[in-house]
Every structure is written in C-alpha cells, then in structure tokens.
Symmetry: C2
Subunit: 120 residues, 2 copies
DNA sequence: GCTTGACTTAGAGCGCGCTCGAACTCGCAG
DNA sequence: CTGCGAGTTCGAGCGCGCTCTAAGTCAAGC
C-alpha cells in the first residue's frame, strides 16, 4: 500500500503519516520499494487507524509514543498497554461527562433565549 | 470582585482573564477602582463562566468573540445568538458521538488484551 | 520609611500538532 | 526526450490559546 492509500484509509495526510513515523509512533518504519517509496501493509494501516482513534479521543502524541514504545517491546507489555488504555478510557469518560455537563448549561442558555423571544 | 476572585470562581487564571478582555470576549471592560484595579460584578463573573463553559465544549476563541459581539449589540440579536449556540450544540453532540465511537474501539482493544492475557 | 503583596501594562515566548515549502528522484506516457 | 505525477528529505513555519516576564504602581502593615 502506498502512503497515499494509507492516508485515504486513515483520514490522515501523507505529511502527517511521515510526521508520525519520524516521531516514533509506528512500530517500525515501513520498508521501501525499489523506488524508495514506503510500502505499508494492512497491519501498518490498522495500527495507524488505532493511533488515529486514540488521537481522536484526545490522547497526546506523547501518550501515543508511550503506547508504541510498549507495543514494540512485545507481549511482556500487554498488561502495561492494557493499563494505559484503561487509564485513557477513564480520561475520555470524564471528558464526555464534562462535555455533557457544559452542554446542559448551554441548553439552559438556549431556553432563556426561547423565553426572551416569546417561545416562538 | 477582584480579578483573583473571578479567577477563583471561573477556574481561569488572572492572565487568561486579561487576555480574554484584550481579545474582545467581555461585554465591556470592567471599570477600575481608585487603584486602577479591575472591579468585576457578579454579572461579569457569570458571563465569564459561560465563556469558560463554551470553551470547555470546544468553542474557539473566534467563536466566543462572535458570540460576544452579538451580545454587545443587544436584544436584536437574541435569535442570532440562539442559533449560534444551537449550531455549537450540534457540534458538541457530534463530537460526543465520535468520542463514544472511538472509545468503543479502545474498549475492543482492551478486550483483546484480556484474551491475550488469559482473561485473568 | 520599607517591605510585602496584589495588581497593572506591553509584549515576548511557548507547547502542541501539525502543515507546508523547496528541492530532489523516479517511473511512465506521449 | 519531455513532461507529469507521485513519492522522497529536511527543516522551517504556523495557528491556537494561552502563559509568562519585566518593570512599574499602589495600599497596608510593621
């Protein structure tokens, strides 16, 4: 798979994919074809999709790097990786709750406008 | 109320409060006491808390400014303000859904670790 | 009178996560 | 042979939202 195809499949840009690689987020740098172009496997793409989803939930690049570092060290780190994900999960749940709470106040404000405008 | 008290009540820092003022997020600059210090009213604090909550839900500074600009123009803009909030609300709801979706994938990944580790 | 502490200003600096530009190399189609 | 398009590298630049520094003012307490 070319970098453009991975970009397509993950929703990231080719620029970002190279940046992620540079910054140590891939398990290993994808090998190159004869022309020097990166050749990604499906597993690479799956890994990157996971990264992308973790980013989507607000995990920092540093967090992703920690996770990648663990993953690179093999199955000894299953427990640590699971813990990392669970800790992150808790963060996300808290964030969602905070969002819902803030949203309730926004809703309240909208209601006030309804009343001010005569409940049209 | 002093800037420190508003900071306390809103969870923002005094630095940030001055920054928000500079950047046009307040309805009007708070008047100064004899010593040149800002004197905030409860209504100021309420407004800032709303700003803070909107920020908390991911509204950009530019979005807050648009909202503040409308608010400053008086009751003619009730409808516009309500629309702005409702549009933002929709964004937030979408974001929450996306978070939950991404979270489901993280959960799935955690389960995989459970299995790999023998469901301890 | 001096220190302390809370405030003031203008403006610089920063951390994050990209994002882009410039210059280059390939392989291929016309 | 000449483009063209897709890739490459390195490094700079950027947008956002603060965050902080430096230097100053003022009021109150010792």
């Amino acid at each position: 798979m070319t970098i453009a195809q991975v970009a397509e499949r993950t929703g990231l840009t080719a620029h970002t994919l190279r940046y992620y690689e540079r910054t140590g987020l891939l398990l290993e740098p994808p090998p190159r074809g004869g022309n020097g172009h990166r050749r990604y496997t499906d597993r690479d793409a799956d890994w990157i999709r996971l990264l992308s989803r973790l980013r989507g939930t607000g995990m920092s690049i540093a967090g992703l790097r920690r996770y990648a570092d663990l993953a690179r060290r093999g199955e000894d780190t299953y427990a640590a990786r699971k813990e990392l994900l669970e800790a992150h999960r808790a963060d996300v749940v808290a964030k969602i709750e905070q969002l819902q709470d803030d949203l309730a106040h926004v809703d309240y404000k909208v209601e006030i406008y309804d009343k001010l405008m005569g409940e049209r």
